[in-house]
Structure formats: C-alpha cells, structure tokens
C-alpha cells in the first residue's frame, strides 16, 4: 500500500513554500512571494495553514517602521517534507517500474 500524501503539503503553493524553506535558514515573505509568483493574499492564507500545522515558524516584526514577516521551517516541517518526498518516490516507482 502507498503512504498517504500529506494533504497539507499536497497543494501547489504550500509545497512551493516548503520547498523554498527546506533549502534556506529563513526567508522573508517578500522573497517567498517573488519566487513563487503568488499573490500576497493567497500566500498569507497558505502560510497561516503551514503555521497552524506546525510546519513553519512565522515571525512578524517591524523593520524601519515597515512590517516584516520572516518564515522558517520547523523540525516537524522537515520531517513532514521528507515523508512527503518518500511517498512521492513510492508513487513514481509504481508508475515507472
């Protein structure tokens, strides 16, 4: 039987955000928005979902009087991402044996 694909990660924008964060120490909201070509509104919603799942930490602060949001993947998020990739590999093995 296949491992179930994590529904939190199996969404294009949330997966893109997690894939960006897996390779860096931390990234600002504007950086994620630029790299994922998403709208601020949609990205905010998806980031909130990842935060609620405990996959990322979100720090909101003020820098030079401007709001600044920084995101960082958590240990739980790294584990979930690795499990998701392993499940994907299982699917692909079956499709291309």
């Amino acid at each position: 039987m296949f491992a179930e694909l994590d529904p939190i990660l199996h969404s294009q924008l949330r997966l893109a955000v997690m894939s960006l964060l897996i390779g860096v120490k931390e990234a600002e909201f504007t950086f994620i928005k630029e790299k994922t070509n998403s709208t601020a509104g949609n990205l905010s919603v998806q980031i909130q979902k990842l935060k609620d799942a405990g996959y990322i930490d979100v720090v909101k602060e003020f820098k030079d009087n401007y709001p600044n949001t920084t995101c960082k993947i958590t240990t739980k998020g790294i584990h979930a991402f690795e499990t998701y990739v392993q499940a994907l590999q299982q699917y692909l093995k079956v499709q291309n044996p």
């Binding site: 529904p7 199996h10 997966l15 860096v24 120490k25 950086f31 790299k35 692909l92």
Partner: protein
C-alpha cells in the same frame, strides 16, 4: 481543485523551488576577486619596493589592506541600507563565519610576525589562503576552489624553503591560482547559468 496535481508535478515544483534558493555565488565571486587582486597588488608593490627600489620600509605596502577594509565596510553599509537581505542560507552563514575567523587569524598572525620575524610568515599566510579556498570550495561545491586550496598548500610547503623575496612571488602565484582564477570561473559559471 488545488490538490489535483500529479506526483511528477509535485517533484517539478520541489526541484524548481530548490533551484531558486541556490546560493548567490555572484557575491562570493566578488569577494574572492576583490581580496585576490588587492593582495596581489600589495605583494607586487612590496616586491618592487624591496628588490628594485630597495626601500627599507617596503612592508608599508600592506597599509593598502586598510583601504580595502574601509571600502568594504562602506560598500556593505550602503548595500544594507539600499536592499535588505530577504533570505538567509546556511552556506551564506558558513562562509561568513569561516572568513570572519580567517580574517581575524590573518591579522593576529601579522601581529605575531611583526613582533618576532617575517622569515616564514608568507608560507603561513599561503597555508591559510589554502584553508579558506578549500573549505569555501566544499561549501559551494565548486571544484576550482578545492583544487586551488590544495595547490596553495603545496605552494606553502615550497615557500617554507624559499627566501623572503621569493616567498612574496610564491604568494602572488598562490593568490592567482587559489583566488583569482577560481573567482573568475565562479563568476563565469554564474553568468552562464543565468543566461
């Protein structure tokens, strides 16, 4: 439906996002070229003052190093003001810690040599250039720096048997092989990848 996408599509998203976070090596190439050229100019100036001009205070050439430090401090301050760093990578952090540590070591070593003698100082400096470029090459997964670092260590061994003025020439050679050539290769690779 946002969940209606294939495993292949998932992998494509993961791959494309990971590619977008690859380290900004153009910046690293600048630092290698800046310090490589500056130190090379200083070594050549000192060699000319020592061998041809026969100026007793030939080591004053190293004062130019402070010009480089001041230039970089201003450049970094202006850059930070203009554009905030939007992403922090582990490679950026590791490079920062490595070169800060090495920078401090260079100055302490210079001070120790100034208090004692300069006889073998250049072989020690070349050895440290080797450490910096070898480890940076491993962080950046860029072979020319790794090879440059190893060659710098070999040059350090040769320099230990050379006289002071030949040590200066060997330092120039080490800088060209371990900083300047790999620095240009890194910049060329970065430009090619982005075209």
């Amino acid at each position: 439906m946002e969940n209606e996408f294939s495993p292949e599509e998932s992998l494509r998203i993961i791959q494309s996002m990971i590619d977008k976070t690859k380290n900004n090596v153009a910046n690293d190439a600048f630092y290698f070229l800046f310090w490589g050229w500056l130190t090379l100019i200083i070594c050549i100036t000192q060699y000319v003052l020592l061998v041809w001009v026969k100026y007793p205070q030939h080591y004053y050439a190293w004062g130019l190093l402070w010009v480089g430090v001041i230039y970089l401090v201003f450049k970094t301050a202006i850059k930070n003001k203009k554009q905030k760093q939007k992403v922090k990578t582990y490679v950026d952090d590791s490079m920062k810690y490595l070169w800060t540590g090495l920078g401090i070591t260079f100055f302490i070593l210079g001070w120790i040599c100034a208090l004692n003698e300069w006889k073998n100082c250049f072989s020690l400096f070349i050895m440290l250039y080797g450490v910096g470029t070898f480890v940076s090459g491993c962080f950046l997964k860029f072979k020319p720096f790794i090879i440059g670092g190893i060659i710098a260590w070999v040059i350090a061994l040769i320099a230990a048997t050379a006289n002071y003025q030949n040590q200066l020439l060997l330092t120039c050679l080490a800088l060209i092989i371990s900083y300047i050539i790999p620095g240009y290769m890194l910049r060329y690779n970065y430009k090619n990848q982005n075209n």
